[in-house]
């Protein structure tokens, strides 16, 4: 209760305290501050233990067991791990798809986000209407947006099909064609680049105007102005967008799952269970495999092995981000 003695950083300089034994009063103060810190952090400390540390440990344990959620778990050693690495083709498919999404969808999103941002800062009249319109799709709930896109792109009655017909462009099967399902998902992702547009606008507005004027006086054309003035000052933001894009792609789940279900038409049909990845595993990702093994096949052990693989890959991407942005993440003044 007695928090009156708190003077915190104002009294003492923040550097390391000298190595003299603290007088008893100061020690009591420190203990009290320690208790206060723990009290403030307590919601998260409990949450971290119960909803992160414990389940992560349990995932490791279950990965060494056979457990069908009915009979008690049975220790099977490395069997699940060996099975996943040696005899489980869906894993390779899921990883290849993820690689495609990282190599194509993420850069496309950044490219379009930057492009639309550059248009937005050049507009004078109607600029705020333009920004709002380009931002709105980002807000569309993923399930709704995905169902919308499956309709727009559906063969025969979809509006895109009509437009392609009028222009005499041969249509493709989009969400129903293994070769075009991922490009269709990429298009859906590009539709929702509102978040990137906003951060790129913020970055573009920060580029000093004088530099453009100086470059123009030196006879630099539009491309040279972009290359030598704009680009150097926005590269940190581009990098940030790419890395967060990669991290989000590791979690890619809802759009692929919903698109597969809606396009294949097997939702809620009794007796039919949907296998993610429709068509032919072309939209399969690791998080969907975890769901499939854990909640459709009830093979908890295998699902946990896949969970841990996902954990490893996501952590790798995160470490990359933290190293890049270490200054920003921990900076305090």
């Amino acid at each position: 209760m007695g928090r009156r003695a708190d003077t915190t950083s104002a009294a003492a300089p923040p550097g390391r305290p000298a190595k003299v034994k603290a007088p008893p009063g100061l020690r009591a103060l420190r203990r009290r501050r320690g208790a206060r810190t723990v009290a403030f952090l307590s919601p998260w400390l409990i949450g971290f233990a119960v909803f992160f540390a414990y389940p992560l440990g349990a995932t490791v344990y279950y990965s060494f067991t056979h457990y069908d959620l009915i009979n008690p778990p049975q220790w099977v050693g490395l069997r699940n791990w060996r099975y996943v690495f040696e005899d489980y083709p869906p894993l390779g498919k899921a990883l290849r798809n993820t690689l495609w999404l990282v190599a194509v969808m993420v850069p496309l999103r950044v490219l379009f986000g930057l492009g639309v941002g550059m248009i937005a800062v050049r507009l004078k009249r109607g600029a705020s209407l333009f920004r709002t319109l380009c931002y709105l799709p980002f807000l569309a709930p993923p399930v709704a947006a995905t169902i919308g896109f499956v309709f727009l792109l559906n063969p025969a009655t979809g509006p895109v099909d009509q437009i392609m017909d009028t222009l005499h462009i041969p249509n493709v099967g989009w969400f129903n064609d293994p070769a075009w399902a991922k490009p269709a998902l990429a298009m859906l992702a590009v539709w929702g680049i509102g978040d990137l547009m906003v951060i790129f606008i913020a970055a573009l507005v920060d580029v000093p105007r004088e530099q453009y004027e100086a470059a123009s006086l030196d006879g630099a054309g539009p491309w040279q102005r972009f290359r030598y003035v704009t680009w150097p000052s926005i590269t940190p933001v581009v990098l940030f967008a790419l890395v967060t894009g990669v991290i989000q792609t590791m979690q890619y789940y809802t759009q692929a799952m919903v698109a597969g279900k809606v396009a294949s038409g097997i939702i809620g049909a009794p007796g039919q269970s949907f296998e993610p990845g429709y068509p032919q595993g072309s939209t399969l990702t690791l998080p969907q495999l975890v769901y499939q093994e854990g909640f459709s096949s009830f093979d908890t052990g295998v699902a946990c092995v896949l969970s841990l693989l996902l954990f490893g890959i996501a952590m790798l991407a995160t470490v990359l981000l933290m190293r890049r942005r270490a200054g920003f993440m921990t900076a305090e003044d």
């Binding site: 928090r3 009156r4 708190d6 915190t8 950083s9 104002a10 206060r36 810190t37 403030f40 952090l41 919601p43 998260w44 409990i46 949450g47 992160f52 389940p55 349990a58 995932t59 279950y62 639309v116 248009i119 050049r122 507009l123 333009f130 709105l136 399930v143 709704a144 169902i147 919308g148 309709f151 727009l152 099909d161 539709w191 906003v198 951060i199 933001v237 940030f240 991290i247 979690q251 789940y253 799952m257 809606v262 038409g265 939702i267 809620g268 690791l286 975890v290 769901y291 854990g294 909640f295 908890t300 969970s307 954990f311 996501a314 952590m315 991407a317 995160t318 200054g327 920003f328 993440m329």
Partner: protein, 280 residues
């Protein structure tokens, strides 16, 4: 020479505006087509025409009369409102401690927050599901989605901390000299100062709950009484196979609240998006 510069200006103007129109078409046309389809008759949805012959507004009232739709709305609101409230209450003190207190493991704690923020929810889902269904007997309800939010959400903690770092410390120090405890400083001085930040975090969390598909799929799929809009919408499509018009009307009804909320709170939202990315 002057003439050349003038022509270049005009060409530049034309190029920018052509691209702007193309962008607007790309972002807006999907909404237009969804809307036009949502007011078509059942028969017309099966034909290739794009413009409704007959405007069937009753599609929208039909949706509300669909069994389940009202329940999904209610559940989504319960999840989003209670989840957001609990998340704010529990995340604020944590963010304050991480931003303003000096303690030994602060760097480690911050790294742990960021790491959990980046973690795909599927990583820990198996034990969590076993915990909620076998140990707690709560599968088929909204509780497994709401209760964890009472223990802080990594993203909200991180975002609030970023805002709290920008507060000038003189105010807080002045309060301390006056003998104010940290909890009172947080509630009486800090909270009023960071209202926009709290609004932004609340919006993000609300949208997250509203849009969540994976959580409801895992915990509520067995009990339609507990479905949320995101999860129910998908089954709606399943039940109305060829009736794209009804599905599109339902889809737009799920999008509408989010877009309405956005228009009322645009400033706070954009500020939040900017702060997650480029500050620093």
């Amino acid at each position: 020479m002057r003439h050349g510069v003038g022509t270049q200006r005009v060409l530049h103007w034309i190029a920018v505006h052509t691209l702007a129109v193309a962008a607007v078409l790309f972002f807006a046309l999907p909404f237009v087509f969804l809307f036009l389809t949502s007011v078509m008759t059942d028969r017309q949805t099966l034909t290739p025409s794009l413009w409704p012959h007959e405007w069937r507004w009753s599609n929208y009232s039909d949706i509300f009369n669909t069994p389940g739709f009202g329940t999904w709305w209610r559940n989504t609101l319960i999840y989003a409102v209670s989840g957001t409230t609990l998340c704010l209450i529990s995340s604020l003190p944590v963010a304050y401690a991480l931003a303003r207190f000096r303690f030994r493991f602060r760097g480690v704690a911050l790294m742990a927050v960021i790491a959990t923020m980046m973690l795909p929810p599927q990583v820990i889902i198996i034990p969590m599901y076993i915990f909620w269904s076998e140990d707690m007997g709560l599968s088929g309800t909204l509780w497994p989605l709401i209760i964890p939010l009472a223990f802080g959400d990594a993203f909200s903690i991180f975002l609030l901390r970023q805002f709290l770092l920008t507060l000038p410390s003189e105010y807080l120090d002045a309060a301390r000299v006056d003998g104010c405890g940290e909890l009172r400083i947080l509630l009486r001085i800090v909270v009023p100062m960071i209202k926009p930040a709290i609004a932004a975090v609340a919006l993000f969390q609300f949208f997250y709950c509203w849009n969540d598909y994976f959580g409801p799929q895992v915990y509520t799929s067995e009990n339609p009484e507990a479905w949320t809009l995101s999860y129910g919408l998908e089954s709606f499509k399943g039940a109305h196979h060829t009736n794209w018009n009804l599905t599109m009307a339902a889809t737009l009804l799920v999008m509408a609240p989010v877009i309405l909320v956005f228009f009322f709170a645009q400033k706070a939202f954009i500020e939040g998006v900017t702060l997650t990315g480029v500050k620093g």
